[in-house]
Symmetry: C2
DNA sequence: CGAAGTCTTGAATCGAATCAACGGAAGTGG
DNA sequence: CCACTTCCGTTGATTCGATTCAAGACTTCG
């Protein structure tokens, strides 16, 4: 008798197409964990001994370098796997995953990874594809940093977030994650000052509507135009 | 009777630990291809129908965006696999691979990938790890672009190349790939003008010795100091 | 040899960081 | 509930790194 229902993970792309028995098997090795806002699932540099699946909420993944400079690597959405350091041969977590809102995750010990991909090879294929997609994304980000100016990059980041975590309201598309100026700065390689000025200018033009840790996109077209050709 | 000798691929990390029979099996499905300097193995956007292993030489992988801006993604060294778009679920090649010097590669049709990883699961594990390493590398590059100035980034790029493709000479470590100012600019998100000025300044200080498409590192220590804390 | 490709260097410009100060919102504790 | 602190955001002034614009020199190659 399992304490966890298989419907918890049935929606995760990584487990798509697996039989109910397989899902139960996978779940039986999992441990559930609550992550109140601000808690970390793991920290950069810690020995990577578990991997995770987000059930509910949002996590921010950050990476910091020797000099203390930090970037925001990505946001993790429900049904995403994360912390799969073992699969890529890393012994420590390469970043820190913090709950941006109250969240819920499953976790498995690393030892389960080898067993699971042996038993369910489609899992390895899916993991590889999601890793590939992240590599593409990250390379696009390099291209973006190397070739666009700050305003274009902020526009791109906001649009991406609106697609990933947007919620339609009567005023526009609300980005449904607490998002500070500092967060946007760490996503785009700018300073919070420049982000603040840029958002203020956009607000004056009616492109966005924003407040404390909150951004609403009112004119997606307009932002797209900015992201494309600077002008 | 095979035309290709198994020693060709025995040195590739992806095939490490496989039996001679396995190597012969893998080789039997491969096709050898000469790539004179300047030729491409594949171009960005083309349907990805084959994957590759570099036997000899060096390839430059570039990626270009809609506006025509280009970055240099990486250099491929002998024994590296490349163009594994199929494994990551991409239908087209995400970049262009050009021979930087006369090169030699093996290639397999995509269909072979599924067969090979089914027959030799260690291949999938290795592929995943190398993909993971590239993701780490690319994320480090984002961090670098977001937090270091141009001089630091150029120093970092030169040091990395010296490690990857350095050849000791009596004058210092020669980067054994034709490397133009434009190449360094595309690696670091700078202009060729700034790269030229920077190298000139370093040459005056005795840190490097450089010429047309040629860079020799004379003072690795000094460059490391620049890469770390700008001054 | 001419032509194309590569590199250098100066001068002017501009985007974004830095420096600096302040206002307001949210959380904390008595 | 109010005072206090902390966090988050805004906006101006200034500075500086790097691009852009421009012209010329050197190399290599067909």
């Amino acid at each position: 008798m399992s304490r966890l229902d298989r419907s918890l993970i049935a929606g995760a792309p990584a487990f798509a197409g697996l039989s109910p028995e397989a899902l139960d098997d996978i779940l039986s090795r999992a441990q559930i964990m609550r992550l109140p806002k601000g808690e970390t699932a793991f920290r950069q540099g810690e020995p990577a001994d578990r991997f995770f699946l987000l059930l509910h909420g949002r996590l921010r993944v950050t990476r910091i370098n020797a000099e203390g400079a930090q970037i925001l690597v990505r946001f993790i959405a429900p049904n995403d796997m994360f912390g799969v350091a073992m699969a890529i041969g890393a012994v420590t977590y390469p970043g820190t995953a913090t709950a941006a809102v109250d969240s819920l995750a499953l976790s498995w010990p690393n030892a389960a990874w080898t067993n699971l991909i042996a038993a369910y090879p489609s899992l390895a294929v899916k993991a590889m594809q999601s890793l590939g997609a992240r590599l593409q994304d990250t390379q696009d980000r390099v291209l973006d940093l190397a070739t666009h100016n700050v305003e274009q990059r902020i526009a791109g980041a906001v649009l991406k977030l609106a697609r990933q975590a947007g919620r339609k309201t009567e005023e526009g598309v609300l980005i449904d994650i607490p998002l500070s100026r500092q967060d946007l700065a760490e996503m785009t390689g700018a300073t919070l000052h420049t982000v603040s000025r840029t958002l203020s200018a956009w607000e004056a033009k009616g492109l966005v509507d924003c407040g404390r840790r909150r951004v609403v996109v009112r004119d997606e077209q307009g932002l797209t135009a900015i992201a494309k050709h600077a002008e």
